[in-house]
């Protein structure tokens, strides 16, 4: 605690609306009597520039070194007030806020009680202000290069976009050629361009891109370092090398898996999977026995998957176009939600594809090599329909590529229940991983169709660009700090940090201690709580600040 505390309290009555409920001058008068309070001001619109300029001037003129703002929720304008404080020459972290609007006057209709609570809230903020600590801003220079793992359409698109933004990228693909699923799909409906054409266009862009370095038949082994300066060990052929990157994008996609248990059926020459049909359609001129009637079954293993109904629709249309036979799709609800997919469904119907909706899974049997499907048609009031067919196409489930788990654990990245990469927060940060500087794009973390995957690639490219474009990242130095004298190096925090932001370090080249990487740290404070030596202090949320807030429990100022 500074000995010479000069607290400035700035009250805002929200355009005069709060003054109608309570007497701000009375609050001001009470606050002025508190020790260390140098200045109390009332404003009507602290969220506006003019008022903020006045506030800045007051801070300077009155020599205020701790600022308390009593106004609306800090969720709204805390950053703005920090900027004001900073512009007044005071460290931006020496600000404490009291939420007197949303959590007082708006929430409590009883005026007196609301006013009492507001006084208490301001008192708490003042108490907290006494323990505020400055956090210095510094900059860390970063490697302006992005590593993209996975050379499918998502990875390619992200590379092209980053290249257009003038950031260097290295595109690492496991297989011998780029393209991923584009090499396997027979069509990309509802997109009218063929996969070959899409790939050719994209590959041309990759080749022309000044900043894209393609590594095929290559794999990422492991990664050390932190955001801005990762060093990645990459294997290519028999060789291994290490390169530095500022950010890493995972675009490893998905693979499909057929489980015969769901159907109790083994695959054969006339019972095939979507992937096998895809191959057949891709080389349709070589198909000797053209199937006259084809049935698809979808929605059995996972009704909510995008991959299965979409491939059923795409390939039903593909068959109609290439083989012209009878096509029937057996489905539960055939949920589609992407752009153009409803039209794709209508196109299928217009071309004569028959859709049969079931509640109970169809019974499939084989007689003399012929396939017989019995199903109760829901739309025909459950009437039993028997369908013979030449070719039965069964759905597959999408699963993460084999190496997701290994990479996930070597890189300390979260996986979801199915083993796909898990975003930091699906709503707020949909392409961010739990680690700063590592991003996910495409189907390795979400169930997406082609257009959605491309959008995801653009988003992720922008995120990486934002992070690295300046070549430097502003960082708050030691906003969470380990006291090297108190640290027992028990590894508790290193194990507990959800963002893998704490590592071992040596003090004076000798004693081992935990050290927090400022860039990777996301400020949750978990480390400070688990530390058995109480050696870690989050400067914005220190124990002293939190404890100071309930110093006034049971009393109103």
């Amino acid at each position: 605690m500074d000995k010479d505390l000069r607290l400035g309290v700035f009250l805002c009555d929200c355009g005069g609306t709060l003054s109608k409920v309570t007497d701000f001058s009375a609050i001001k008068a009470k606050l002025q009597k508190l020790s260390d309070v140098t200045y109390v001001g009332i404003s009507h619109d602290l969220c506006l520039k003019r008022a903020q300029q006045a506030m800045q001037k007051d801070i300077k003129d009155k020599g205020i070194n701790r600022v308390v703002v009593a106004a609306c929720s800090p969720e709204l304008h805390e950053k703005d007030f920090m900027n004001v404080v900073q512009s007044a020459g005071v460290n931006r972290h020496l600000l404490s806020m009291a939420n007197i609007r949303e959590q007082c006057f708006w929430a409590h209709p009883d005026k007196d009680k609301a006013a009492q609570k507001a006084m208490a809230q301001i008192g708490m903020a003042i108490n907290r202000a006494r323990f505020l600590e400055p956090v210095e801003q510094t900059q860390i220079s970063v490697t302006k290069e992005v590593l993209i793992i996975g050379g499918g359409i998502t990875g390619i698109q992200a590379a092209i976009e980053l290249s257009n933004l003038n950031l260097k990228t290295t595109l690492v693909e496991k297989e011998a050629a780029l393209g991923g699923k584009l090499n396997r799909f027979a069509n990309l409906y509802p997109v009218q361009v063929s996969p070959e054409e899409v790939l050719a266009t994209k590959l041309k862009q990759v080749a022309e891109g000044q900043n894209i370095y393609v590594l095929t038949s290559a794999e990422l082994l492991d990664v050390s370092g932190e955001v801005g300066n990762f060093s990645a060990r990459i294997k290519r052929g028999n060789g291994e090398f290490v390169r530095n990157f500022g950010a890493i994008i995972f675009a490893t996609g998905y693979t499909t898996q057929f489980s015969s248990q769901i159907y109790g059926l083994e695959l054969s020459n006339n019972i095939i999977t979507q992937s096998q049909l895809e191959e057949m359609l891709k080389s349709s001129s070589e198909v000797k026995q053209i199937p006259k009637s084809v049935c698809f079954v979808t929605d059995i293993s996972d009704e909510h998957s995008r991959v299965s109904p979409l491939s059923a629709l795409r390939n039903a249309l593909g068959i109609k176009e290439k083989f012209r036979g009878e096509v029937c799709v057996l489905c539960q609800n055939l949920k589609v939600d992407g752009a153009g997919l409803e039209k794709l469904y209508r196109d299928c119907r217009n071309k004569g594809v028959l859709f049969i909706k079931f509640d109970n899974s169809p019974r499939i049997s084989k007689q003399d090599g012929k396939i017989k499907i019995e199903v109760e048609d829901v739309l025909m009031s459950g009437e039993q329909v028997t369908l013979p067919c030449d070719l039965l196409v069964l759905e597959e489930t999408s699963v993460p590529p084999l190496d997701s788990k290994v990479l996930g654990s070597t890189l300390y990245m979260g996986l979801d229940a199915q083993g796909f990469y898990q975003e930091n927060n699906v709503h707020l940060y949909p392409t961010a991983s739990n680690r700063e500087g590592i991003f996910f794009a495409g189907n390795c973390h979400a169930d997406l169709d082609l257009m959605q995957a491309l959008t995801d690639a653009s988003n992720v490219a922008l995120s990486a660009y934002q992070l690295l474009a300046q070549g430097k990242i502003a960082v708050e130095a030691e906003k969470v700090m380990v006291d090297p004298n108190k640290c027992r190096f028990c590894l508790t925090c290193i194990r507990a940090c959800p963002h893998h932001a704490i590592q071992e370090a040596k003090v004076n080249h000798e004693k081992m201690v935990a050290q927090i990487a400022d860039l990777a740290c996301q400020g949750c404070g978990i480390c400070a709580v688990v530390c058995p030596a109480k050696a870690i202090k989050p400067k914005d949320w220190s124990d002293e600040q939190i404890l100071a807030e309930f110093e006034l429990l049971g009393e109103y100022v």
Partner: protein, 141 residues
């Protein structure tokens, strides 16, 4: 000074800034009221709430403590809410050892837009603490 008469419990609610704090704001924005004797303390994550913070709150005269975090699987810091839940359980035991009803500390999860839920939790907990009466630690209790 607090009015004498009916028991108005002092309740400290540690609110995760990612969710519960915003839902408290939402309650206000929607003009949904809740007991004003609940003191909201903003924390960056429910995982920042220390066993010690809760114990100290009781030392300072709290009658009840609430830890409000994000829904499971929705923690920005992956495990912060789970850790908070486990800590609340530990505090229940620590208080029980002291002879204070462990039920005076509770954990709930919310989404940032759940203003009504925030108010409901605040009301329910307030009622429960009222029933339990003043903390036995409090002077004059």
């Amino acid at each position: 000074m607090k009015a004498k008469g009916a028991f108005l419990p002092d309740i400290v609610a540690f609110c995760c800034a990612q969710s519960a704090y915003q839902s408290a704001d939402a309650a206000g924005s929607m003009r949904i009221t809740y007991p004003e004797n609940i003191r909201v303390i903003r924390v960056p994550c429910a995982g920042r709430v220390d066993v010690l913070h809760i114990l100290r709150a009781f030392e300072k005269g709290a009658d009840g403590v609430l830890v409000l975090g994000c829904h499971e699987e929705a923690c920005r810091h992956l495990s912060g809410n789970i850790r908070a839940k486990n800590r609340v359980q530990r505090v229940n035991t620590l208080l029980q050892e002291v002879g204070i009803d462990g039920k005076r500390v509770e954990m709930f999860t919310l989404a940032p837009n759940q203003g009504p839920r925030f108010a409901r939790i605040a009301n329910e907990v307030n009622e429960r603490i009222k029933e339990l009466g003043p903390s036995p630690v409090k002077s004059g209790a």
